[in-house]
Symmetry: D2
Subunit: 266 residues, 4 copies
């Protein structure tokens, strides 16, 4: 079996999805269903998990008994904000310790502030959190985050909400080569092929929100993403053919291609 293990728990889906930016909770639910995701991430500062008693509560629509909730720190720009937000999440979710940390650098790019991210991760890990961490595609920073105890590293493909796809597959490749914890591409996926490419590179999973929520038909796009992640994973495991500029010339494979050099089976 091709299992996907996060913090000791085994999942069959390698697609993680966000819950924001939908028209309403009904659409959120339909899209999550179509995606087949088992891990769903929630922006604690923007989503009602019971903080506002009179309003619709996401936990009623997506019950924690059926999904692994991943509270995140979207909108946090400092160590303090991020740590405080996740402590709140732990209260709201009855001691839940698996979280997604992100500490952003500025509101325009939403690029991570890596110095602050490292500090916040250290604090949270000391407090017993299991930290999945949003990171730039800096291979040194990704390794540092793993070494201080993060349970997964989540490099960006491109800026949050940009839909630009994987801008630098070479950095992702180095991160994957060096990692001993799961590597999950987080941010920047725009369409199905982006997710497939991430998986073909050897990523363990893909997390997305806007690509589904901002599609014209979110539920159909969620289905597309489910298939794309599975397709990319299977292609990775199947071991793709070598690239050759001239097919008739078997002795000159195009060896420098990202995908072929990363194939598990090759």
């Amino acid at each position: 079996m091709d299992n996907f293990i996060i913090a000791g728990k085994t999942y069959s889906s390698r697609l993680l999805v966000g819950t924001g930016k939908y028209r309403d909770f009904a659409e959120t639910r339909a899209a999550v269903d179509a995606s087949g995701a088992e891990i769903i991430t929630v922006a604690i500062r923007r989503t009602n998990l019971g903080q506002n008693p009179g309003e619709p509560n996401l936990l009623d629509v997506l019950p924690p008994s059926q999904y692994t909730f991943l509270p995140n720190t979207a909108g946090c720009y400092t160590v303090d904000d991020a740590v405080r937000t996740l402590r709140l999440a732990r209260e709201l979710l009855d001691g839940h310790s698996l979280v997604k940390l992100e500490v952003l650098g500025d509101p325009k790019t939403l690029y991570p502030n890596m110095v602050e991210t490292l500090k916040a991760a250290e604090i949270l890990i000391k407090e017993g959190f299991q930290v999945m961490v949003y990171t730039s595609d800096d291979p040194i920073a990704a390794k540092q985050l793993e070494e201080i105890g993060c349970v997964a590293v989540m490099p960006l493909a491109s800026l949050i909400g940009s839909g630009m796809g994987i801008l630098n597959p070479w950095n992702l490749q180095i991160i994957i080569d060096n990692a001993t914890v799961p590597v999950i591409v987080d941010a920047g996926v725009g369409t199905a092929s982006d997710a497939a490419i991430a998986m073909e590179l050897g990523c363990d999973g893909v997390l997305m929100n806007t690509a589904i929520a901002a599609a014209q038909n979110p539920v159909l796009m969620a289905s597309a993403m489910k298939k794309a992640v599975e397709a990319g994973r299977e292609a990775y495991l199947a071991g793709r053919m070598a690239k050759k500029l001239y097919s008739a010339n078997p002795s000159s494979p195009v060896s420098g291609t990202i995908a072929s050099s990363k194939d598990k089976a090759s």
Copy 2:
């Protein structure tokens, strides 16, 4: 329903596969099954459909009652060779008229000879064949082939057997924009994401052989390709999000991107 119609017949699968380059007919069959393909193409000059009575016959493994056979002219470099080969196919397959024409330019690149392709297509159409035609990504030639009566145009993504993926998505886009017959990417797909990208561009289908047969695990790759084609089609129909360099700047979408400009829903 999202039907795929070729020469008046409706198919549910948009993945067409070749039957060559497998270890044996058993592997061919297993891969075709995993791919979900309903249309399978056969190199008449290299495959026993009964020409050699004592040898294994592909028709016993993949019965024409279950699949649409698409005889092709792989290995033909002249009008004469191609026309003669397809006349033979018609005999072997009891009057079957749906064929895939390719007239190649040289044995090194296997790039099509478009002048000869146009001549052969005209002859075959006059003789009553329904011609699906392998073509370069030349938008003018693709339109000419449609105008003389080809039932589908099949532009290359890259050289046959190269696995290089889609080298020029812009030409494919022009072909798709202008076509009134199905456009099927044929040749050059190397891995799952390549197939997804072709479908996201708005192609009606994808045909491949080497990408499956030359994978280290052909049956698993066939499954990957099935999902990738479906994922790409659904993403195309779902209408992807706009690309934006800065997510926080909704007024500056990256409009020139291939995929977004080709989305059906946008």
Copy 3:
């Protein structure tokens, strides 16, 4: 010496420029001067070379004694139009036989009609013209044009006037590998690096018009292009370093890259 020979005449500049789309002939002249071009191409149907006696005449600004004129068939969509246009050019230019043939497929894409181009080239060559021919990046067609006697083949980088740069360097590479006449990239260059890349691929020259004329400062862009073509040529001759994903790993060059595989010295 690194000479560039067209139809038996030696040039020192490998940049060929068009003369259209400028504000006036003074700007045309200033841009041509800054470009260092020795061969200039003229759209016979749009430029006054004496057809309209009372109007400014390009020959007064750019005297044929100083430049090699290359009359072209811009705006021609049929064999007849193209052939007639170049016969007129021969008259206007006192028997001048070096011409640039283009037969376009449609007014929207300005993509060449290769079937018509081949026919027109044959006729012109029989009539004694020395034909430099605009072509798609189809390697088979490029070779056919060479075989019937064209003195240079001029594949597009991308559509005329698009400024999209080199969309398919792999096809250009095959054309260059197979050619025994000069290969000149014509159409699609948008900025200086595009011209440098063309030269690094091993092209013999680059022809452009819009990239200079439609820049905000055409004269400065002409200077940029002069330097870019020289830079690309020198880089090609100098033999670039190998690409390596990891610098510290000398045993794994990224061999499939276009530029490195095309370096003359490698």
Copy 4:
């Protein structure tokens, strides 16, 4: 005049070059001459500037009276090593304060360790150094380096010595957009067009070593790089034409392209 100012001094060349990896100091000198560089960088740990009295001294070949020397910390993996190395450089070069800081993450990738780089930069700036700093293409880190007082930020195009060119132009674009100190692409340039692209993006300069020293003809490549940097700068200042997929459709520019969106004049 288009001046290039670093730490208050004006230069006419925007190409900075390294001095290592050459066959001998004679070749170093010939390549530096051909490059036209006015600022040359020296690996203090690997180059004799007088530390080893009996051996050839670079200062005899490239006299500091004619060039601005930029001592660098190549090979340093810690704050301590980097700071100590530059203190030594200051002694060797009579109080010279302009330096290039790099603190690397590991010997395999040579990717910068950004946390250590920030710490080392702070110490050096307090000690009165004028710090030009090698950085990843992380826009937040680049801004932090500027804010603590670095006189130039020098993001990588790709890994040191890789020759892979500009892997992520989008990040470079954000860095350039936000910077108020010069941005100089450092590391990863492999051939002339790479340097031109960097300048077209709006970088203020380009620093390279291996691309010249490891070319088969380093002196010719140095000349190519000189022209490429000038070509890219002029193209940037000239304001390139808009990209359009269809030339005939002036209303649909391809606006999301890096180069066009970064043109100064547009």
